[in-house]
Symmetry: C2
C-alpha cells in the first residue's frame, strides 16, 4: 500500500514498531483497547489520549531496546508507572508506545549503614516501606497515591512529610535513565554530596519523561523515629490554621507533617473515612524524634496553636490511630466525590511563599464562591503548598468553563505572589500555559535542553512545553 504509507507516515512508523515489539516480546505487548484506555486514565479533567500500544518492560536493557526501536522510527515513548499523575503526564497526544515499568519492581539493594537504597522504577513507595520496616528505615516522600518511585522522581513528587524530609528533589541521590538515543546513563554516585559536574540528577527529577526514561532510582532513606505523636487540631478559620503553621515553622519547630483540611474536606473525610471530626478548618500535625523531644514539640505547638485560636487537640501516639488519620488524609482526593457523587474532579495545586499562604488560600476560597464552584482545600501548609479539588459536571460545558477559568486564575495568583503554578503535581499538559508567566526568559533555556537531549521529540512529547 504505497499510497497509504505516503499519506500517513506516522501510522506506518507505529505499525513497524508494534510489529517489531510483537516479534521480540510477544507476551509483553498489548494493543487491546482496554489496556490502552487504562494507560490513558488521567484520573482528572484531562481528556484521555490513549497510546497506540503498551509495552511491559522488565529491565533497563529492554527499555533501552524499545527506546532505540522508537528512535529509529521516530515514535513517541510515554513512560508509565502506576498512572496516578494528575496533569495528563501519561497521555499520548501524538500516539506512540506507553512504556509500562510496573513489572520493574525489584528492590535492587539497601545499604543500611549508608541509609540508601536502589530500586527499579516500578517499585511503589508502600512496597519499599514495607520492605524497609524491619531495618528501622523508611522513605518519607508520600504523594496520596501509592505511586511508583520512578514516576515520583519524574514528576518531582512530594507529600505530607516534605516539610521535614524534603521532596524527591532532596531524596533522590542518583538515577539510571535511558536517553532518547538509547544510551543508558547513571547521573551520580552514592556520596551524600558532590561538587563534580552538572547536576543531571536534579535535571531529570521533574523532567516528566521528556528527557529520558528513568529505570532505576537511588534514594536517601531515614531512620524510623523513636517516638511519633500525631494530632488533630480544629481552628475557627483558615487564616488561624495557616498562621499557626507559619508560626510553628518560623519558631524552628521541626514539624514532620502539618496538613490543612478545610471544612469541606473534613466533611468529606468524615463521610468517606468514617471519622467524627468537627467540620471546621483543621490541622493534622505530626512530630518525630526522641520521646522527650516529641513531648517538648507537642507542648510548644499547643502553645502556638492556642495563641491562634486552636483548641480541642486530639493527640494520638498509637500507630493504628495515626494510620487511620493519615489514610484519611491520603484519601482526601477520592473522598471529595462523596460530596457530589457523579461529579468529575479537577485536582490542582500551587505553592507560594509562607508569608502569602493565608492570603492565597482565602482569595482562592472567595474565588470558588464567586465562581459558583465547589471544591475542598487541603494543603501541605508548612511548605506553602495547597490543593483544590474542584468537583464539576463534566457534561455541562458552562461548569467545565468555570472550572477551567478557576484553574487559570489560581495558577496566575500563585505566580503573582512569587510562587509556582504547581508545587507537586507537575506540568504535564495541564500547566503548560503558565510556564511563560512563571519563568519568562528562563523557559527558552529549558527548551534548549529538551531539544539538545531529544532532537526528534520522541520522549513524552507534548508535555511541559510544546516545542
Amino acid at each position: 500500500m504505497p499510497n497509504a504509507q505516503a499519506i500517513d507516515p506516522r501510522r506506518n512508523a507505529i505499525v513497524s514498531v508494534i510489529e517489531a515489539l510483537k516479534a521480540h516480546w510477544p507476551d509483553r505487548v498489548s494493543v487491546s483497547e482496554a489496556v490502552r484506555t487504562h494507560h490513558a486514565n488521567t484520573l482528572t479533567w484531562h481528556t484521555p489520549q490513549p497510546p497506540d500500544v503498551v509495552f511491559f518492560a522488565e529491565n533497563t536493557a529492554e527499555v533501552q531496546d524499545v527506546v532505540k526501536l522508537c528512535a529509529e522510527h521516530r515514535v513517541p515513548i510515554i513512560p508509565f508507572g502506576t498512572g496516578t499523575s494528575l496533569e495528563g503526564q501519561i497521555n499520548a497526544p501524538f500516539g506512540g508506545v506507553s512504556l509500562d515499568v510496573s513489572r520493574m519492581n525489584a528492590i535492587l539493594s539497601v545499604e543500611t549503614e549508608d541509609q540508601t537504597c536502589t530500586v527499579q522504577a516500578g517499585v511503589t513507595r508502600k512496597q519499599l516501606n514495607e520492605y524497609l520496616r524491619d531495618q528501622g528505615l523508611f522513605f518519607p516522600v508520600d504523594p496520596g497515591a501509592d505511586a511508583s518511585l520512578g514516576g515520583m522522581a519524574a514528576t518531582r513528587a512530594s507529600g505530607t512529610n516534605a516539610v521535614r524530609y524534603g521532596t524527591m528533589r532532596e531524596n533522590v541521590m542518583s538515577l539510571t535513565a535511558v536517553m532518547s538515543d538509547g544510551q543508558v546513563i547513571s547521573t551520580a554516585r552514592r556520596a551524600r554530596k558532590s561538587a563534580a559536574g552538572y547536576d543531571l540528577t536534579r535535571l531529570l527529577v521533574g523532567s516528566e519523561g521528556t528527557l529520558g526514561v528513568i529505570t532505576e532510582v537511588t534514594l536517601r532513606l531515614h531512620g524510623i523515629p523513636e517516638a511519633i505523636a500525631a494530632a488533630v487540631c480544629p481552628f475557627p478559620s483558615i487564616a488561624d490554621a495557616c498562621n499557626t503553621a507559619i508560626a510553628a515553622i518560623q519558631s524552628g519547630l521541626p514539624l514532620a507533617r502539618v496538613e490543612l483540611l478545610d471544612e469541606l474536606q473534613i466533611r468529606a473525610c468524615n463521610i468517606y473515612s468514617k471519622l467524627t471530626l468537627a467540620e471546621t478548618p483543621t490541622l493534622f500535625v505530626e512530630f518525630h524524634g526522641t520521646q522527650s523531644s516529641v513531648d517538648e514539640q507537642v507542648e510548644q505547638f499547643e502553645a502556638i496553636a492556642r495563641d491562634n485560636g486552636g483548641s480541642d487537640f486530639k493527640w494520638s501516639t498509637k500507630p493504628e490511630e495515626r494510620t487511620t488519620l493519615w489514610q484519611a488524609r491520603h484519601d482526601a482526593a477520592y473522598s471529595c466525590l462523596v460530596l457530589r457523587p457523579g461529579a468529575k474532579v479537577m485536582a490542582t495545586d500551587v505553592c507560594v511563599p509562607l508569608s502569602r499562604l493565608a492570603e492565597c488560600v482565602s482569595l482562592t476560597k472567595q474565588d470558588l464562591a464567586d465562581s459558583g464552584l465547589f471544591g475542598p482545600i487541603v494543603g501541605h501548609v508548612g511548605d506553602g503548598n495547597f490543593h483544590v479539588a474542584v468537583l464539576f459536571d463534566g457534561n455541562d460545558p458552562a461548569d467545565v468553563a468555570r472550572m477551567k477559568g478557576f484553574g487559570e486564575r489560581i495558577a496566575m495568583r500563585a505566580i503573582a505572589m512569587d510562587g509556582t503554578c504547581t508545587g507537586e503535581h507537575g506540568v504535564g499538559q495541564g500547566k503548560m500555559a503558565y510556564l511563560d508567566a512563571e519563568f519568562g526568559p528562563a523557559l527558552a533555556f529549558m527548551r534548549q535542553i529538551k531539544r539538545s537531549f531529544d532532537p526528534h521529540n520522541i520522549m513524552n512529547p507534548g508535555k511541559i512545553f510544546a516545542l
Copy 2:
C-alpha cells in the same frame, strides 16, 4: 596593521573588548599586572593564568553589557568573587575578562517570615550573617574562606554545617544569571518547592561559571537555634573517630557539625590558633536545638563516643569558646603551613558513602606515608567528605610529581568506592581528568548542555571539561 590582525585574531578581539570597556567604564577596568595576577591567585598548586583584563561590575545590567561585548568578540569571561576557589576555577587559560563581582555586595531583601533573602553575587557569607544576626536568622553554608555567595553557588560549596542544613544545592532557592548571549534569566520563584519545569537552579549551582554568570542569589535562611553546645572529643584512632560519626548519624542524632581532624591537623591548629589539644585524632562536634534537646543529644553522643574509645570531652556552651574552636577549624587550610614553612599546599577533597569513610581515610593516610608525603586530614565526616592538605616543595619536581600522583590516586579511590572525586571544591581545572571515570556516558550529556548554552565556549572555558 592588517597582518597582525590576521596572525592573532584572538589578541585583536581582546584589545577591542578592553578598548570598549575603558571607553564605557574608565574607572572600572584594570590591565595592571598586579590586579591581573591577584585575579589568578589560585591559592593552591594550580599555576596562575592571569586574565587579560579585570572588570569590576556593580550590577546585573553591567554584567549583561560586558557579556554581550565579550560574546560579540568571542572573548572568554571568568567570573571572580573572592578568589578563594581551590581547583583553578578563576584561572584564564585562554585569556579574557575576569569579571569581578566583589562590588556587587548589596543585600537586596530579607523576608523574615519566609526565612529567605536575596543578595547580589558579591555578598560574602560572613557579611550576610552579620546582617542577619539581629533578626534571629542565619545562613548555614560555611566553606573555610569568607567566600562570596555567588561563588559558593557556582561551585556548589558546602562546609561544616552541611550534615544538618545541606549544601548550596539545598539552600539556593533561585538564581539570577547572565547567559552567554547576554540574556538575563531568573531560574525559579520563591516558593519552598515547585514541580514546574526543569530545575535550572540546581543546574547552575555547581556549573562554575561555565553556563552563565550568577549575579543574584535567593537563599533559604534558618532560625538561630535557642541552644548550641560544641565539644572536642579525642580518639585513639581515625577509625574510632569515623565510626563514632557514622554511628551518631545512623542513630538519627541531628548533629549540626561533626568534623574530624587528624593528629597532624590538631598539631597545626595548636600552633597556629594557640590551642592546647591532645595531638590525636579528634572530633569537633556541635548540637543545635532547644536546651533540653541539646542536653539529650549531648548525652546520646557521649555514649556513642565512649563505645568507640572516645573520652575526655571538652564541652563548651559559651559563644566565645565556640568561636575560637570553629575559627581554628576554618583556619585549618592556612594553619597547615606552620608544619612546613615555605611549602606549597595542594588542598584536595573527596566524598564517599559513609560505610566506606573509615576505610578511605585509612588507605589515604597509608598512601601519604608510602609516598613520602606530608598532609594533614580534616573531614566533614557526617557527609563522608574529607580533605587532605598535601604540603610539598614547589621547586622540587620529584615532590610535585609525588603530590600529583597522590591527587590522582585519592580521586580514583573515592570513585572506586562509589564516591565522588570532589565533595565540595568543584572540578575547575584540577579534577577534569576524573569525570569520565566518575560519570561515564553521562558526561556527554553535561557537554551537550554546555554546547547548547554556550555555543562559542566563552563562559569560563577550560573548566569542568575541555570541549
